[in-house]
Structures are given as C-alpha cells and as structure tokens.
Amino acid sequence: MTAGSPLLQASNLHTWFELRQWGFLRVGSVRAVDGVNFALARGESVAFVGESGCGKSSLARTLLGLHRPTRGEVTFDGEELSTLKGKARQRYLARVGYVQQDPFGALPPFMDVRRLLNEPLIIHGVRDPAAREERIRRVLEEVRLTRVDEILSKFPHMLSGGQQQRIVIARALLLEPAMIIADEPVSMLDASVRVEILNLLRNIQRERELTLAFITHDLSTVRHFADRIFVMYAGRIVEQAPVDELLDHPQHPYTQSLLAAIADVDADNALEERDVPGGEPPSLLNPPPGCRFHPRCPKAIAGTCDVREPPRFAPREGHYSDCWLHDERHGS
C-alpha cells in the first residue's frame, strides 16, 4: 500500500438493527449508523463526537467487525472488511485494537492479569509461553505500569480504575495493531486519571504511529488528543474538520450548540439564555425527514430543512458541514 492511501475508509456505511416481532415479523430497523463516509490516514488521531445514542459506539463495533454492516463497506488497508474470512479476518482483528469504556467490565473477572493478557496472544498463535511473557512485559512497560510482577498475578478487581484501563490498553497493543478504536476510554474513570490515560494514549499513538479513532461525547478534551473531529448526529456525520478549525469556527448548528454547552464555565452567565439543543435526540427507528437535526435546530429553515436532506457543503477550507445554512441560496 502506498503511504498516501488511507488506512481505513468507510463508504456509505449503514448499520441497521432489525426489530422483529414474534421472531420473524419485521417491524422496523434501528438505524444506528446511517450512511457514513470518512477516511482515516495512517498515524492520524481522530475523534468522533456526539450525544449518547448518536451511533458512535455502533460505528466503532462495525469497524471492529462485531456488527455486520447492512449496506456500504469498510476498507482497511485496501481490503474490504466484509469479504475477510478465517485467517485474513483474524489478521484484521489483530491489526485493530479496541479500548472500551468500562475498564473493569472489559477484563474477564475470573482471569488474572497474566492470563487475560495471554489470551489474545494464544488466540493469534503465539505458542511459546516465554515469548508471550516477554511481549506482555514489554507492553506493560509501554503503558507505564510499574511493579509488573505483582500486577501480573492480580485479578482485575484488585486494581484501580486507572490500572485497569492501562491493562485494557496494553491488551489492545499486544497484537501490534495499526489502529486503535477507543470508545469513550476515560468516561468511567476518576477525573484525576483521565488526563494521564489520554496522554498515555496520545503518546503511544505518536510513538507507534497508530491511527487512533477516539470516540467521546466530551468536546472539552478533544482538542489535545485529536487531529480531526467528526461530529455525529443520529447515525450520520454532520460536520468534520481539523480540530482547531472545528472548535474555533463551528459551522453546523448542532456543533455550535454542543460547544456552547461546554464553553460557559463562568458562574456569571450560568443563568444566561443559551441556544442549547432542546428536546431529545431523534428516534433512530423513525428518523425525522430532511435534516435530522431540524426539530431541535434554532436556525431551521421551514420548507427546506424539514423536507430535503442537506448535502455536504465546504463552508471553509477543509471544513465540511451538512447543513442547508451553507447553501448560498439561503446565505450563511
């Protein structure tokens, strides 16, 4: 593969979950991921941002091969994910690491650390126990865990949240991945260790030149850990741009309201009226017609936003936003 080609590319990706009644009657689909296009370059760190239920985690699972895409495709290093079988699929799984939200839940509670770190290596055919042990120790060092001997024989519940998450990261790194998908990796950790873990992930990403897909609902941490941001809403990417560009010049009304929700930490304007998106995120079972954000959008244009789906506009250099407001006919 050439250096310039993207490592991972998703085109027109849909992941729908069918709802059935009595086991066979199809009554509808939950459109968790509904037409997503993006490309991730090698060594790039990107963040997927959005409210709960916007399809971020479903997207992550689709990329990991845990959900079969309903339509569209994922291409990794030139190979299409849905065509991979057997050995090739195992190789793909080894090249994509997964860091989950809940570090305690992500570790099998009945295995000690040594055992659970051995598992991926055993599955991927590292037969020699000494070689496994060596790789495990190297990775534990990389995630800055000290007193390795002690930790190896401990069970997950004996470790702190930060240690648990380091183990989860170590497990994701064990198989020498080219990409790591981190699904809200710090949201369940103490505020005090969040920054540590994020810095660790960022450092490892830089040292190993990994592609890091970082899924979060917390815009406040994104600036330091991502190169690019994708804002997701109701199963779609509504805005994408390099991190500073997006945070400083948000174009989509949804992004603007998300940023407004976190920007004001001053007590003075706590009572000030803000255009925080009102209402609930839309139902993924029956998404609203037209722009999916229009029922909550303060700038919705009646007759346009609620009828036609917005195409992708590029209001600024390298900054894309799916919103009718950028249409020159309406004048942004």
């Binding site: 086991g23 699972r61 990991l64 091969g65 845990l66 699929r89 195992q90 799984l93 080894a94 994509v96 997964y98 989950q100 939200q101 809940d102 839940g105 992500a106 570790l107 099998p108 509670p109 009945f110 000690d112 598992e119 991926p120 599955i123 991927h124 024989s153 069970f155 989860v168 497990r171 198989l175």
Partner: protein, 443 residues
C-alpha cells in the same frame, strides 16, 4: 491470590464445611479401602452367594449391637477334624475312624443352627458314619448314623427324629442339659461330637467340619443367604459415590455447555434448545427408568446413561440460561470477540467460568440426589443384577420382611450410610454456597 484458594480458606470458618468434608473424606476413604481389599470380581463373586458362605450364620445381627444391648449371643464356632486327634483302627478292606470334635460353649443364648460338613477323600465307596453328642455333664445323645457321599452335609438342626426325641429343636435341645423344654437354659461347658466312621477303602480319609452357628456376626451381620452384609455395605460406597458423581458431572457439564451454546448463538439454536428442554422437563424420570429397567436391562451403567441423557435437557438449562444471558453482553466478551476469540473459546473460556463458582455448591448437593435415585431404583427391584449396593440390601431386607422379623440392622445400616452420604454432601454444599454464592454472602 487465587479466588478459589481464597474461597477454600474461607470455608474453614464453617463447621458444617469441616463436618461435611470429614464425612465425604470418610466415604471416599472407605471406597478406596473397599476397592483395594475386595477387588471388583471378588465382590461380585461373593455377592452371588452360594457354598462359600456355608460357615456363616443365617440372619445374624452385628456383634457390636448385641454387646451394646448387653446381650450374650454366640458367635459361630467351627471345629475342624484337621485340628483334632483322629484315632484309626484298620481292618480287612477298610478302616474304622473316630473323630472327636470338641468345643467350649459359654454363651447365654443357644446357637442358631448346627451343621456337619463331611468330605471323603481317595475313596471309591461311600463311608458310613455314626454320631454321638456328649454334653458337659457327661450325657451322651445318639444322633444316628448314615452313609455319606463324597462331599456331604449333615444338617443336625433339621433332624426330625432327633427333634422328636429331644422335644426341642436340636440346636437348642442339644445344649439345654436338663432344663425343661418350655424354658430351656444353656448348659455351659465343653461339648463333644464324636464321629465314628467306617471307611471301605484302605487309603480313604475323612474330613469333618462342625459348624455351630452363632446369632451374631461381624460388624454388619449376615442376610438370609448367609452373605456377610459388610460386603454390600462396603462395596455400596464406591458404587454410590461413582454413580452420584458421574451422574452429577455428566448432567451438569453437558447442561452447562448446551445452555451456554444456546445463549451465545441465540436465534434458532437457542429456540431449539429451549423447546427440547421444555418437552424434556415434562418427561417423568422415574417411570422411564422403571420402564428401561423392566424391559431392557437393570445394569447400573445403563441406568447411569439414561439418567445422564434425560438430565441433559433438564430444568438446569433454564437456570443457567438466565445466569448466562447478562454475561453474554458483558464488555469483556465483546473485547474477546474484538481480539478474535472463536465461538467455542468464548463459550468455554469466557462464559462458563464466569458462573462456575455459583454452580459448585449446586453440583455438590446434586451428588446425593443421584445416590438416592440409584438406591430408590434398587429398592424398587431395579438394582444392578450383580453389583452389591445399599439399595439392593434394602430391597433384600424388604423382601425378607426384615423389620417384621426383627432384623433391624439389615435396614438401618444401609439407610444410615445413605443418610450419611446425603448429610455430608449437603453440609459441604451449603457451606460452599455461602462462600461462592455472592448473593448469600453476609457482611
């Protein structure tokens, strides 16, 4: 620190765990001792009964029970001609032989039976014997004479003419001395049975064994076929433990794997398993076993197979499924899929170990239920045709109306062993439950 090790250490705090474990270890020890001292084939041969038990009394109680009750019931005495001085007088074409069989009798109660076993060696013609009974007071009672076959038994107790002369059953009358027939009392002292034989061959020899059967025998007593009950009680232990353990292991493991498979694959696999289970739960186990036993074979291993096969799709599947469903969605399983664990690996290494600690107590308490099932089948007359088991002892006792006849030991000893098994496993299982079942954990 391993959670199993920690759990076992915690077990020490529970007296019921110690008690239960002691009982289980005792039973295991007894099993091992039995299997080593009485090999399988020997046990089967012994339990088949027959001539090998001829020196044992019929329906004798255990010695210790009699002594505890303050009784003085006799044990069996065997007097052998090979240990006495034989006087021989040769004559033309044969020999006259006198064998005195002497023994001391000091018990307060009469023996239960008297038999004389005769064996003629190196003789082509039948010998003739005449018996005389000499009591301690010097009285001589003639027991008559008869021809003896090569291998013969003279049942002195069942000699009607002698009974008529004595006015009492011979084994009482011969020991009663001068006491009246309606209240006989034992005359204590040295008795002698003098055997005068005429052998019609110069090389012929005669061996005689006198058995004065007692009313108590050994630790466990004997049954109506003179068999020592100890054989069955001892051999019943490994059989019961093996049956219980194999049935519990066989049903638990298969059930667990099938439940986990259904939960993991969902859809049609799960639905099939659930429907099969629902049908199977309704099937009555005992009548099916009775049917198999009546129509096909009562071999204990066949019964074990049927129990396991019918136990696979048992109600346990529903319980395990309920426990496994939330585990299926656990993040660590998602992580395992993400690093490429196969379906089989996820089921065996990620789902089942999660609920294993909770199942251990259930498993331990399940063992005695299968032991009882096997005993129930035996009591119903569907016991293994050759193996001695506790249930078969109970079945024999019931057929011989043991309690009506006062042979309480015949019922009590296997029952006590069965109860001990149940108690031991239950005590241990409940303690395990406290340690491994988090819902019951205090503090």
């Amino acid at each position: 620190m391993n959670r199993w090790a920690a759990g076992l250490r915690e077990l020490k705090q529970y007296p019921s765990a110690i008690g239960g474990l002691a009982i289980i270890l005792f039973l295991i020890g007894l099993s091992l001792y039995t299997v080593v001292t009485i090999p399988y084939s020997e046990a089967l041969d012994k339990w088949r009964g027959g001539e090998q038990w001829r020196m044992h009394p019929v329906n004798a109680g255990p010695v210790w029970a009699d002594r505890l009750a303050g009784g003085d019931k006799p044990r069996t005495q065997v007097v052998r001609s090979t240990e006495t001085e034989i006087r021989e007088v040769p004559f033309e074409g044969g020999r006259q032989v006198r064998i005195p069989l002497e023994f001391d009798y000091h018990n307060g109660e009469f023996p239960s039976e008297i038999n004389l076993f005769l064996r003629t060696l190196d003789s082509s013609r039948q010998a003739f014997v005449r018996l005389n009974w000499k009591t301690p007071s010097g009285e001589t009672i003639a027991l008559g004479g008869q021809r003896v076959a090569r291998d013969d038994r003279i049942s002195i107790s069942q000699n009607p003419s002698l009974e008529g002369r004595l006015g009492m059953v011979p084994h009482i009358g011969l020991f009663a001395g001068d006491s009246p027939p309606d209240a006989p009392e034992v005359e204590k002292g040295r008795y002698r049975l003098v055997l005068d034989a005429i052998l019609f061959d110069e090389d012929a020899r005669l061996e005689a064994d006198l058995a004065v059967y007692g009313r108590v025998h050994g630790v466990a007593g004997t049954d109506y076929q003179r068999r020592n009950l100890m054989v069955a009680l001892m051999w019943g232990t490994p059989v019961a433990l093996a049956f219980g353990l194999l049935a519990a292991v066989g049903t638990t493991i298969t059930t667990l794997i099938i439940a986990a498979t259904g939960v993991w694959f969902r859809g049609i696999v799960d639905a099939t398993i659930q429907r099969l289970t629902e049908v199977n739960i309704i099937l009555p186990l005992l009548p099916i076993l009775v049917m198999v036993g009546t129509l096909y074979s009562t071999s204990i291993w066949l019964m074990l197979g049927v129990v396991i096969v019918l136990g696979i799709f048992s109600a346990g599947i529903k319980t395990y499924r309920a426990m496994l469903l939330p585990i299926r969605e656990a993040p660590y399983i998602e992580a395992a899929r993400a690093y490429g664990a196969s379906n089989a690996r996820i089921i065996m290494r990620y789902m089942i170990p999660r609920i294993l600690p909770v199942l251990i107590p259930t498993f331990v308490t399940l063992i005695p239920t299968f032991v009882f099932l096997e005993a129930s089948l035996a009591v119903l007359g569907l016991g293994d045709p050759v193996l001695p088991t506790w249930g078969k002892v109970l079945n024999d006792a019931q057929e011989q109306s043991a309690l009506y006849n006062g042979f309480y030991y015949w019922v009590i000893s296997p029952a006590v062993l069965l109860m001990l098994t149940g108690l031991g496993f239950a005590m241990f299982g409940f303690a395990l439950d406290r340690v491994f079942n988090p819902r019951l954990r205090t503090q």
